[in-house]
């Protein structure tokens, strides 16, 4: 786009298309680019690469409209309870494995709760991650009530003075009312057994997801309140641009990103790197 040299209608269209193909969404992209057109006039920008820089800074502004502290996951009380939710296959269990390992390396005492009692081999999958990170996993038999597992896990975390409890839950589509109710119940049990819990409710979102991500975030947020998003599979070619809208409209920060299937493939969300990658 920049090689064209001229700031004309084609140039602005090219930028709008770049945003659309990054999953920013047709309406958000159009709003951002019309704002850009105004600013280019107002600031009398002449060079295409200056316009691109300006666009990057405008998107960065949207992301940073939330407090910088919002973007970090800081365990602030003991035990610090993290509830992990999201639609099927987004990367919840894997992200928990990575997070557990990170905290263990920081010298924290981490407990995991196998809250997915539904899907085939979900408990076994989390147990393997538990072994890899050296964490205990609280589990019941497959088919048990997830709230019962969570109840036990919270009691265990308190009694044995764990620093962090991370609860895995079954994947669920936000449109399934009974599953959303089950999730609300899990949250209620946590709060009832430990004041303030869950301290962090992390929604795991697959970066390849399109505009449906907004509907996911909205409904999960309405149900239990999301304190942060873990954006996974950014090691692919999808840009995850839909989070710009989620940050802007729902005021929910992205806290973590997944960049692979290995235990160390977890990073803090870095707004600048994210925006740069949109334009790669």
């Amino acid at each position: 786009i920049i090689g064209r040299g001229k700031i004309d209608e084609d140039f602005f269209e090219g930028l709008e298309e770049l945003l659309i193909t990054a999953d920013v969404g047709v309406h958000s992209a159009s709003r951002i680019i019309s704002g850009l057109r105004e600013d280019v006039k107002k600031n009398k920008l002449k060079e295409p690469k200056d316009v691109e820089q300006y666009l990057k800074s405008e998107i960065l502004k949207i992301i940073k409209s939330l407090q910088p502290s919002a973007f970090s996951l800081q365990p602030k009380s003991n035990p610090f309870v993290i509830m992990v939710i999201g639609v099927n296959g987004s990367g919840k269990t894997t992200t928990i494995g990575k997070l557990a390992s990170r905290y263990m390396k920081e010298g924290k005492k981490v407990l995991l709760a196998a809250g997915d009692t539904f899907r085939a081999a979900a408990i076994e999958q989390l147990e393997i991650w538990g072994k890899r990170s050296g964490c205990t996993v609280i589990k019941h038999q497959s088919g048990a009530d997830p709230s019962a597992v969570i109840y036990d896990a919270v009691q265990s975390a308190k009694a044995r003075e764990y620093d962090i409890l991370i609860a895995d839950t079954a994947g669920r589509l936000h449109t399934k009312v009974n599953l959303m109710e089950e999730m609300k119940k899990i949250k209620r049990i946590m709060g009832r057994e430990l004041q303030g819990a869950p301290h962090e409710i992390l929604m795991v979102l697959d970066a390849t997801t399109g505009q449906n991500a907004v509907s996911q975030a909205r409904l999960f947020n309405e149900a239990v309140g999301i304190t942060g998003i873990a954006l996974t599979k950014l090691d692919g070619t999808a840009k995850g641009g839909v989070v710009i809208n989620i940050i802007d409209e729902l005021k929910i920060p992205v806290k973590l990103i997944g960049v692979g299937e290995g235990v160390d493939d977890l990073r803090e969300f870095e707004p600048e790197a994210f925006v740069e990658a949109l334009f790669d």
């Binding site: 999953d23 296959g89 990367g91 085939a120 081999a121 076994e124 505009q211 599979k233 299937e261």
Partner: protein, 292 residues
């Protein structure tokens, strides 16, 4: 919705006489927006708009009392045509077993779909053998074995090897021993840009020559669907597509993107986590869903 927006536009155009490419621009822009909101890939949308432009300025719209509705009808028809016919058959070979390989990105629903397909094949009298060729994901083999047990369908785990190519090779003898008429291979999720893992698929393909390679894709996939499907198709060639998680509220524009860029038929859709939640693909239903 789209019909209302188009009716408003055509009301304004009434006084301008003959409809042409120029004044129909706003109407086409609304169609473009609807498709992009539905996650249809941008380039696929552009091609689509070019296709319907000709019909949109034709007699059927101009002489209609409700031109807005007429345009929606045209869009629906063209979408349905582009999505392809209902072809949910796996081409069964005259000399069994029919070998089917499931491929796709991480978490798209391959393992669950492998079991669903095996269940369907069993019902059709094509006793399947499920093959657990995902040796990477923690408990992937257990996952497939639990599903196989639930369906009373045999699962082959490689008989001692944990090399996916060898597992697949050995599954042929296993199928023959067990009298299976079909083989469904569950492979590990992988990125289309992972050279090594894409090579693994090529190796499996050249060793056992599957009769059908099904690309399993998540219905909520966004613009990237085109890159992924194109790359999988270029590397190993896909024969059909399965769209999973259609029980959600994703508009499913990825269906059009994938179909358009690969030219391959969408054969099945997954409509739930249970093994009987598996259906044939109906283009007209998906077309109206994409239009929203």
């Amino acid at each position: 919705n789209l019909t209302n927006k188009l009716e408003t536009i055509f009301k304004k155009l009434r006084g301008y006489g003959k409809l042409n490419e120029d004044n129909i621009k706003d109407a086409l822009r609304e169609v473009r927006i609807a498709l992009l909101e539905a996650d249809v890939n941008l380039n696929v949308v552009k091609e689509f708009i070019e296709k319907i432009k000709v019909r949109a300025v034709g007699q059927e719209v101009m002489s209609s009392l409700t031109p807005g509705q007429q345009v929606v009808k045209i869009v629906n028809e063209e979408l349905t045509t582009m999505l392809g016919g209902t072809n949910s058959s796996i081409a069964l070979v005259s000399k069994p077993p029919t070998i089917i390989m499931m491929v796709g990105l991480q978490g798209s629903g391959k393992t669950t779909t492998s079991a669903k397909l095996a269940r369907r094949l069993l019902k059709e009298g094509q006793l399947p053998l499920l093959v657990a060729a995902d040796v990477y994901r923690p408990a992937a083999i257990e996952q497939l074995n639990i599903l196989g047990k639930e369906l009373a369908i045999p699962v082959f785990n490689g008989n001692g090897t944990n090399n996916p190519v060898d597992i697949c090779k050995r599954s042929l003898a296993e199928a023959s021993e067990k009298g299976c008429r079909s083989i469904v291979i569950d492979t590990a999720g992988r990125l289309h840009i992972d050279e090594e893992l894409m090579q693994e698929l090529k190796n499996i393909k050249s060793e056992i020559k599957p009769h059908e390679i099904l690309f399993v894709a998540d219905a909520m996939t966004g613009q990237d669907a085109v890159n992924v499907a194109k790359t999988f198709n270029e590397h190993i060639g896909i024969d059909g597509i399965v769209l999973t998680k259609m029980d959600g509220d994703a508009r499913g524009g990825a269906a059009l993107s994938i179909r358009s860029v690969t030219g391959k038929p969408i054969k099945f859709i997954g409509i739930g986590e249970k093994l009987d939640q598996f259906e044939s693909f109906y283009p007209d239903r998906v077309a109206s869903r994409i239009l929203g």
